[in-house]
């Protein structure tokens, strides 16, 4: 590992000023950064830990809204009764990351800021319509999660901007996440699919579908969602929604699987994810 200067600021403003410098990296849980530094794919000159800044951890409720601090451990997200009940897809996605040892270190903010299209919490946050609160020395702003990513590993975050919190305003009556993978644990998603639905008297009043690892950024399958809204969740309709979601995907072939396989599986898994979300609604 290359040497670096290490900082442990106690305020966001100080962290933001340090992070705005050239070749600076933020340290949240470290499960991506430390491994990247060992591999020399990350060679920051300064590392700024967020661990001593108060107010960045914990899950709180505010009316219907659930707020998750960016430094909240993945294991806490996974085990939160509020998240499990109202944003099941997010709790399930969190439980799919790495091992318990890794989930005890990794944070939800790190999982998102790393901007991997395959991040396991991202589909759940997409279908929760999460707002991403961002702070810098200049002030604060909020970005809808579906506008955060610009490419693999890339976000709209400007130098010095730090994710502080995720606000999940819209509880779904039923949601589910499926991770397509080979190993039970310690695997990366070939694809990840989350669905959230609200039902009223057998009619889908709202549907949200989030897809991970099938495009340069995580995406919502809006055409598929529009097909579902206002209709009863018949097998034929869910079938059509799967096809529409697959059409929205623009997957690549890589060492884990081919683009063709990914597109086929988006179809299949969107249908299955919707079936489970509807059953839970």
């Amino acid at each position: 590992m290359k040497s670096f200067a290490f900082f442990e600021p106690t305020t966001l403003a100080e962290a933001s000023r340090l992070f705005a410098e050239e070749h600076a990296q933020l340290l949240a849980g470290g499960t991506d950064l430390v491994i990247g530094m060992k591999a020399y794919t990350e060679t920051p000159e300064s590392v700024i830990s967020l661990q001593k800044i108060p107010g960045l951890t914990g899950i709180t409720t505010d009316g219907n809204s659930i707020n998750i601090g960016a430094m909240t451990k993945i294991r806490e997200v996974e085990r939160s009764a509020d998240v499990q009940q109202h944003h099941t897809a997010l709790a399930e996605g969190a439980s799919e990351i790495g091992s318990i040892q890794i989930r005890n270190l990794a944070t939800i903010g790190g999982n998102i800021a790393h901007a991997s299209p395959a991040a396991d919490t991202v589909a759940g946050l997409l279908v929760a319509d999460a707002h991403v609160d961002i702070a810098s020395a200049e002030g604060e702003r909020s970005v809808p999660i579906n506008e955060l990513f610009t490419g693999p590993g890339q976000t709209v975050l400007a130098p010095g901007e730090i994710i502080t919190r995720f606000r999940l305003p819209t509880p779904a009556s039923g949601s589910h996440y499926i991770k397509h993978k080979i190993r039970e644990v310690m695997d990366l998603a070939f694809i990840g699919v989350a669905a959230a639905v609200n039902l009223d008297n057998g009619t889908i009043t709202d549907a949200r579908i989030g897809l991970a690892a099938v495009a340069p950024t995580p995406i919502r399958a809006r055409e598929a969602e529009d097909l579902l809204k206002g209709n009863a969740p018949t097998p034929e309709l869910l079938e059509q929604a799967g096809e529409a979601a697959a059409a929205a995907a623009s997957p690549i072939s890589d060492l884990r699987c081919s683009a063709e396989h990914r597109r086929e599986m988006v179809d299949v898994l969107t249908k299955r994810t919707l079936q489970e979300a509807v059953a839970r609604a």
């Binding site: 200067a5 491994i35 318990i100 040892q101 644990v185």
Partner: protein
């Protein structure tokens, strides 16, 4: 780069150290303090051999910068036995032969201890899944799982 003063509490003993920020907690434990019970396997968080317990939570110490562990309570395999008595998890691994070459054993024991502390009532399937972050290259998983279940039962019945 400047070394940082840290205080690590390892198995109840305080260690005041000056360490480079790039040193992982694993490296500090093994190379600086000289406690080599915690093993380095893959160095990428995949194998679990370096598992230690920090503030009650099992973590892969190869992914933790030592400077960030300052002020925290760290338990390693060396700290499990007390008053000459092995911890029930350690004893169960011996009784059932839950090890072959032994390299993964400290990590498995620390991960298992944390799991049992959290909830000893897990089913076999739940323990198997929860130990998915620990790899045994000798593939001695059957005996390892048997040891963990026996230890959990013992801790349940004596608690």
């Amino acid at each position: 780069m400047a070394k940082h003063p840290v205080t690590l509490t390892v198995n109840g003993d305080e260690h005041d150290l000056l360490i480079e920020p790039r040193k992982t907690l694993l490296a500090v434990l093994r190379d600086t303090i000289g406690m080599t019970g915690t093993k380095e396997g893959c160095s990428t968080g995949d194998c679990g051999a370096c598992t230690v317990i920090v503030d009650g939570k099992a973590v892969t110490s190869c992914m933790v910068l030592g400077v960030t562990a300052s002020g925290k309570e760290i338990t390693t395999i060396e700290g499990l036995a007390s008053d000459g008595e092995l911890h029930p998890v350690q004893q169960a691994f011996i009784n059932t032969g839950g090890y072959q070459c032994g390299f993964c054993t400290p990590g498995f024991i620390m991960a298992s201890k944390a799991l049992i502390d959290e909830n000893p009532d897990r089913t076999e399937e739940e323990f198997r899944h929860a130990l998915g972050g620990n790899i045994c290259r000798c593939t001695g998983y059957t005996k390892i799982l048997e040891a963990v279940l026996k230890a959990a039962e013992k801790i349940r019945t004596t608690a």
